[in-house]
């Protein structure tokens, strides 16, 4: 016979959702940002390792990538933080109409970025099979593109979800807020890569 339990506290008054570090989703996103950040950091380390094997960077006869597409991409992705910040705040305050509208804007921005990214691949002045320099430059750009692509897919699905009757649930607003947080990671990760692909070969 098990003894009667000794009741010491009650949890019924606790909320059923919380934003930021109170949310399990936030911790999951942080975990995946650490993993993805690890991938970026190690790829960057490999870049410097391969660079140290060469006398000049890029190795002749290759020219550094053309600046226009990459710089345009950088400007657009930096500006995208403006609607991103607004959307995060709107989600945390439960403003569904604003969230719905701005999710569409973010989907549009993602599409524009993907198109510019296509031009970036075309402006590298090297192919992945030319030499190790080409391989690592392509690796950095492909790695970052997968993040643009997956976040875009995520935004499309979540944006669609917000337009259904599920959109009013508090947990969906958490998802929107964390999606915005992840977008910050995606553009922050881009800045060192932009420098490595476009500027270091000009300075080295």
């Amino acid at each position: 016979m098990t003894p009667a339990p000794r009741f010491t506290g009650d949890l019924a008054h606790l909320p059923t959702h919380g934003f930021g570090h109170r949310s399990l989703t936030w911790w999951g996103i942080i975990g995946f940002m650490l993993i993805e950040g690890g991938f970026f950091a190690l790829t960057i380390a490999a870049y410097f390792y391969l660079m140290s094997q060469e006398h000049s960077w890029p190795p002749p006869p290759f020219r550094p990538p053309n600046l226009i597409a990459g710089t345009l991409f950088t400007l657009v992705i930096l500006l995208s933080e403006l609607p991103n910040t607004v959307i995060k705040r709107a989600a945390e305050q439960g403003r569904l109409r604003e969230v719905r509208k701005l999710m569409l804007v973010m989907v549009g921005i993602g599409l524009v970025l993907l198109v510019i990214r296509g031009f970036e691949f075309n402006s590298l002045n090297v192919l992945w099979y030319d030499n190790a320099y080409g391989s690592i430059v392509w690796a950095l750009l492909v790695l970052h593109t997968t993040h643009i692509l997956t976040d875009w897919g995520d935004t499309v699905v979540l944006g669609g979800l917000m337009h259904t009757r599920h959109g009013i649930e508090a947990r969906r607003f958490i998802d929107v807020s964390e999606n915005s947080l992840y977008w910050r990671f995606v553009w922050l990760a881009w800045l060192p890569i932009y420098f490595l692909i476009y500027w270091l070969p000009r300075l080295a």
């Binding site: 949890l11 008054h13 606790l14 399990l24 094997q53």
Partner: protein, 641 residues
């Protein structure tokens, strides 16, 4: 008995006992039948599947080890060809490291940790299920390829250029590299689930300073996995692209470098050793405390040692590369770092000895494995300190001395504690005790067989026998020692077989265990054996590191989670103050279907890069359906007075 309010959707003094069990079971159970079985999100079911699968891989890789010992028992033996031998030692190492050692530690934790923390399930329960399926598919792909004579043959660390497109044509190495992708996706997912569960789902009052040491070890390990595994995933991704689309990461003729492979591999590979070893130290801390009838001596020192080992593990990788030629300063730095890591491990060992010394030790079977561990691991640790010295390492590199060393630390340091832990938690998972007599016999036979197999390898190594040779000439003087090792291997295998027989017999007809057969202190012993699907009828609350010893039968509980829906408690990370009632996802088939879609993509991409484009579509569809809310019609919460 008073009539229960049918709208009462929370546990509490009015809703407890049989009626609470009925309602919680209804909320937490899965559908019966095959689809239900494939859809489960229960950490106990997933954990048990993980453990059984990992032990199957242990058996398969163990048989390969026996085949190698049969081949090497005599010089110039013609039992197997060189090509087959290359596949066999590669499969043995790969399976043991990637499909047994790391997954089995995660598996034990997936089963035990939520019970230890006093919660009903892990966070991200579907991701947990997905992690298992990816692991299963990756392991299956590797073994199917091996049976089809396409098993990898470039060693478990697949050094370039041997594994590159020039020297390894065919698909053998690609299978290896893609197996890495599967297991890394699986391991990383499990690590995120583990870390968030430990940080956010502890029982109220279980501050970080009161957390069981095994939970500490798994927290450190989860973080290590998160920082280490991307290195090998990136590395194998680069290898695949060198082989498939003609990149030149590891090709020195086009500006690449073969040593880049080794740096990235060992940046993962050395922490990997501690990813296997630290959970084992967590087992040891639990076992030593229970069977010495006192808390572990110097808890803060043990926890700091765990964290220090986890950090130092990332500064050692180059000691695997001493023979590749390094700057002098590199030699000195990595020797010093390698010697340093023995300090926190030494501190832990002294703490365990002090615990036994100050306690009232009971030499039950799990405790015998602890003693076996301490003896064996100390020997393996000392040969590790020897190998940290560059001149000695250059002499012994790639010899059987190294084989002896890492089997001492991996079998002695991880498998012995694991078998002790399995014996220890078996009654919790099955409700039955394992046989004590058979347990003692299997321990004795395994221990003797192990030392008989691997101790002579120190000497064969010092006599110059290289590892990974499929045979050796007569007259080298290695014959007798090899014969002893082979006889030892047979005895070792027999010992493990006895362990398995004990499991099977005890599972069917072992003595029935109560909730707490070892009179242990942790929360996992506060619930029935086996636990109900919802783990705890009321969530336990804790005030000390050894709640069951300090509170006796009257363990305090908290109430107020819903009983008509799956709800978990999340707490603040340091002080474990209740913070949010989080819903827990229901079972669904979509993690499995997602794993199938992604798995097909991975296997297909061994043959053409376009698979990544075409496979994206079904994968994205499966993941979208997985995440799409399926049950929006949960009844609204009842009002609180």
């Amino acid at each position: 008995m008073t009539e229960l309010d049918p709208d009462l959707a929370r546990d509490g003094p009015e809703l407890t006992g049989v009626e609470l069990d009925r309602r919680l079971t209804a909320a937490w159970r899965r559908q019966p039948g095959l689809i239900g079985w494939l859809s489960t999100t229960d950490h106990k079911e997933i954990g048990k599947r993980y453990i059984v699968t990992a032990f199957v891989f242990l058996a398969l890789a163990g048989v390969l080890g026996l085949v190698m010992r049969a081949q090497l028992a005599r010089p110039e033996s013609g039992l197997i060809t060189a090509d087959r031998y290359n596949q066999i030692f590669t499969m043995h190492g790969t399976t043991m490291m990637f499909l047994f050692a790391v997954p089995v530690m995660e598996a034990m934790a997936i089963y035990v940790i939520p019970l230890m923390l006093g919660t009903r399930n892990m966070t991200f329960a579907r991701l947990n299920a997905f992690s298992y399926w990816m692991y299963l598919f990756g392991g299956t792909m590797l073994w199917v390829a091996f049976v089809l004579n396409t098993g990898p043959d470039a060693g478990w660390f697949s050094y370039t250029p041997l594994s590159g497109p020039e020297y390894a044509p065919g698909k053998r190495v690609d299978i290896w590299a893609q197996m890495i992708t599967f297991t890394e996706v699986s391991g990383l997912a499990a690590a995120v689930v583990m870390a968030t569960t430990i940080l956010k789902q502890r029982a109220p009052g279980m501050t970080l300073a009161k957390m069981p040491i095994f939970a500490w070890s798994m927290l450190v390990v989860a973080l290590m996995i998160i920082f280490a595994l991307p290195a090998v995933a990136l590395d194998s991704g680069m290898l695949l692209s060198d082989r498939l689309v003609g990149t030149h990461f590891f090709n020195p003729y086009e500006g690449g470098d073969a040593l880049l492979w080794q740096h990235l591999f060992w940046f993962f590979g050395h922490p990997e050793v501690y990813i296997i070893f630290l959970p084992a130290t967590g087992f040891i801390s639990e076992l030593v405390a229970t069977f010495s009838r006192r808390p572990v001596f110097a808890y803060p020192a043990v926890v700091v040692s765990l964290c220090a080992t986890g950090l130092l593990a990332f500064g050692l990788w180059v000691h695997h590369m001493f023979a590749t030629g390094l700057p002098r300063l590199g030699f000195a730095f990595y020797t010093a770092a390698s010697l340093t890591v023995s300090i926190p491990t030494g501190v832990q060992i002294f703490c365990w000895i002090a615990t036994i010394w100050l306690g009232r030790p009971q030499f039950r079977v799990p405790m015998l494995w602890v003693i076996g561990f301490i003896v064996t691991f100390v020997i393996g640790g000392l040969t590790g300190v020897m190998l940290a010295s560059v001149p000695l390492d250059l002499q012994l590199h790639d010899t059987y001395f190294v084989v002896a060393h890492f089997h001492y630390v991996l079998i002695g340091g991880a498998v012995f504690p694991l078998l002790g832990a399995v014996t220890y938690w078996f009654p919790k998972a099955t409700g039955r005790m394992m046989s004590e007599a058979l347990g003692k016999l299997s321990f004795a036979v395994t221990f003797v067989g192990f030392h008989l197999t691997f101790f002579p390898m120190h000497i064969t190594g010092m006599m110059g026998m290289p590892r990974r040779v499929y045979t050796y000439p007569a007259g080298m003087g290695w014959g007798t020692l090899n014969m002893i090792s082979s006889i030892g291997a047979a005895i070792l295998a027999f010992g493990v077989l006895l362990f398995v027989i004990n499991i099977i017999l005890s599972f069917r007809a072992g003595r029935v265990a109560g909730a707490n057969p070892w009179e242990a202190a942790g929360l996992e012993w506060a619930t029935t054996s086996p636990p109900p699907v919802y783990n705890f009828p009321h969530l336990p609350a804790v005030a000390s590191r050894t709640p069951l010893w300090d509170e006796g039968e009257g363990l305090p509980v908290t109430t107020g989670l819903r009983v008509d829906d799956r709800e978990l408690l999340s707490v603040t990370i340091i002080d474990a103050i209740p913070s949010v009632r989080e819903p827990s996802p229901k079972p669904t088939i979509w993690p499995l279907l997602s794993a199938i879609a992604i798995g097909v993509t991975f296997v297909w991409s061994i043959f053409t890069p376009w698979a990544l484009v075409f496979g994206l579509v079904p994968s994205a569809i499966a993941l979208t359906i997985w995440f799409w809310p399926k049950n929006p019609d949960v009844p609204p919460e009842p009002e609180i007075d």
